[in-house]
């Protein structure tokens, strides 16, 4: 079953919710391991440098997610990658042959989605294994 799980997070509230669900799934399977991938969007680094509080918030959220796993005693590994979030997650997931990918959805409306592009859609479309999108 789902022994090797990839959880994609960006530090948002949605990704915290996704982490909870990944935990739920992992705790059902003996010896399941979760890899947490956080992709730093290169286009947003300028904003983060100008607004240090954003970077702080992201790092804080990652710490929260880490402590969630530690509390439930589920083994995990944190991976920080840099690049375009969608393609980076997709290639990482396909290269390492996961059983399941868990990702939060930002809940954008259709106009925002057209302009901003939805990472979760891209991931669902291009990853070879089952994908769980958390609303």
């Amino acid at each position: 079953m789902y022994r090797k799980i990839l959880l994609a997070v960006d530090g948002s509230e949605h990704s915290k919710r996704a982490a909870k669900h990944a935990l739920n799934v992992a705790s059902l399977v003996q010896g399941a391991k979760v890899e947490v991938i956080s992709v730093i969007d290169l286009s947003k680094v300028k904003t983060e440098v100008l607004h240090g509080e954003l970077k702080q918030k992201r790092q804080q959220a990652l710490e929260e997610i880490k402590s969630m796993f530690e509390k439930e005693n589920v083994s995990y590994e944190l991976k920080i990658e840099r690049g375009d979030p969608g393609p980076t997650i997709v290639s990482y997931a396909n290269k390492n042959e996961f059983d399941l990918v868990v990702i939060g959805s930002r809940g954008l409306n259709s106009l925002q989605e057209m302009v901003l592009g939805s990472v979760s859609h891209k991931v669902a479309k291009r990853v070879h294994c089952p994908v769980m999108i958390i609303k």
Binding site: I40, E48, L50, G52, L54
Partner: protein, 488 residues
């Protein structure tokens, strides 16, 4: 050492060459547009971009950062060029380099941390506004076709990346619009109307200006402004690259490098430049990580001009204005609008004052200075809040001082004491306070002497931390005989 240098140059050859080419393509329209903003021939910006990129590849402190002719610097040169001509610009560029080299040698870069983030936000926002405003004369109220060309350029720039990201969309927009203008035979202003493109390499020449004090008094203010603006943008950009690539950079070396680059540029007929945020982000996103990427960007840019120079003059100004509108949209920090109401009011005020100062003076350095001074005042006001509480028992009063005691808070400090009544012992407890300067010690002297005089009590200071104690021991006079509070 040699290994590190080898890594910085050849650690990522394929990625660096590709990204360098992408940047060179994206640089051409910007270098031309910034020359036009400064009021000089396009060649001045193109030579500058070539020389700066190549020199910085060798002497810069942040591999993968792109430095060239920039809008921030061009905006500062306008008046100088108009009043005194191009030769004075070359001289100013050399002086800018000398000032930056001195800044780098004396490690001024570390003072950059005194530029608060709200000033940085104001800087990029003001820069975006000025770049946009500089484009207005090139497309407003000329002809309907001009508006159409600007609009189509923007459609291509923002639309093409949805289909393919393999080619820089700004370049495709420029090519398509230039072809459309030539084929359609529209009567549109072109780059050629505003200056010449010479298909030759830059030549060494000494600026033709008289070497005297008058020249210095003309060029020094502009050179100082350029130095400040150049370093501000470069160090901000370097921080962005550090974060993007998770690798450190040497900010003082960067400052020295930029000095050297600008000195060289001034002797090769170019205008002063600095790091470019937008191009640098493009470079890193396209896979550039090493010094080779910057070098390739400069060399390939020159190669393109040598080969395609005759076509560059045919670029319609409307298409160039479109590209620059995109640059200004990309430069503006849109998230600062969202956080406007969320950040502390003082931060918002500092940001707005920076923007307003720049837009009013067309001088980014004045905005940075105004912003830094204002934030310093706000900061001093914030930490100068001092609390003194008192506890009175029989014949004995204890004052508890809490906060920072320095020139800005001494008034509050002195006013917090009751200089009346009879007491035997008065203790002033500084365990939650810090004494910073001569004014603070003078205020303590004043308080102690006045308390002694008015209450005839014995006055003692307690709880001073080591630094404060040392300062008091050195400067205080209250326990000397015949001490008067005005001895400082």
């Amino acid at each position: 050492m040699l290994n590190k240098l080898k890594m910085e140059w050849f650690g990522n050859v394929k990625g660096d060459i590709l990204s360098g080419i992408v940047v060179a393509l994206a640089l051409i329209p910007e270098a031309i547009a910034f020359s036009i903003i400064a009021g000089v021939d396009p060649m001045v910006g193109l030579y500058a971009s070539f020389c700066i990129a190549v020199v910085m590849a060798f002497v810069g402190g942040r591999p993968a950062m792109i430095s060239a002719a920039t809008g921030a610097m061009a905006l500062l040169m306008v008046t100088l060029v108009k009043d005194h001509g191009i030769q004075y610009l070359f001289a100013t560029t050399i002086l800018t380099g000398v000032i930056q080299l001195i800044f780098g040698i004396f490690k001024i870069a570390r003072f950059m941390k005194f530029i608060p983030r709200s000033v940085m936000v104001g800087f990029v926002n003001a820069l975006a506004i000025l770049i946009f405003m500089a484009q207005v004369p090139h497309f407003v109220g000329i002809s309907t076709m001009t508006y159409v060309f600007v609009a189509l350029t923007l459609v291509i720039i923002y639309g093409l990346p949805r289909i393919t990201k393999a080619v820089p969309s700004a370049l495709v927009a420029i090519i398509v619009m230039t072809v459309a203008a030539i084929v359609g035979g529209f009567n549109l202003g072109t780059v050629g109307d505003l200056g010449e493109i010479t298909r030759s390499l830059p030549m060494f020449s000494i600026p033709n200006v008289p070497l005297n004090m008058e020249t210095l008094s003309i060029i020094f203010p502009t050179a100082l402004g350029l130095s400040i603006v150049g370093l501000t943008e470069s160090l901000l950009t370097a921080t962005i690259v550090d974060d993007m690539t998770d690798t450190p950079s040497n900010k003082n070396k960067e400052s020295r490098g930029q000095g050297i680059a600008n000195i060289v540029v001034g002797f090769f007929g170019g205008m002063a430049g600095c790091a470019m945020i937008g191009q640098t982000v493009i470079n890193v996103k396209s896979g550039g990580r090493g010094r080779l990427s910057t070098f390739v960007a400069g060399v390939f840019l020159m190669f393109l001009i040598l080969v395609l120079g005759d076509w560059v003059v045919k670029i319609p100004m409307a298409a160039l204005a479109g590209v620059m509108i995109m640059v200004s949209i990309g430069t503006f920090d849109w998230s600062s609008l969202r956080t406007l109401t969320k950040v502390p009011l003082t931060d918002t005020v500092v940001m707005l004052v920076t923007v307003i100062t720049v837009v009013a003076t067309h001088d980014l350095s004045k905005g940075v200075i105004a912003g830094v001074i204002l934030s310093a005042i706000f900061f001093a006001a914030k930490i100068s809040k001092l609390e003194v509480s008192s506890k009175e028992s029989e014949h004995r009063t204890v004052y508890n001082v809490k906060g920072q005691l320095f020139f800005a808070s001494v008034q509050d400090f002195v006013n917090s004491f009751a200089f009346k009544g009879k007491q035997d012992l008065i203790l002033i407890d500084f365990s939650e306070a810090h004494i910073w300067d001569d004014s603070a010690v003078a205020a303590i002297d004043k308080v102690v002497l006045k308390l002694k005089e008015q209450t005839s009590a014995e006055v003692k200071l307690t709880g001073l931390n080591d630094v404060s104690d040392e300062l008091v021991q050195k400067l205080a006079t209250y326990n000397k005989t015949n001490a008067k509070p005005s001895n400082h």
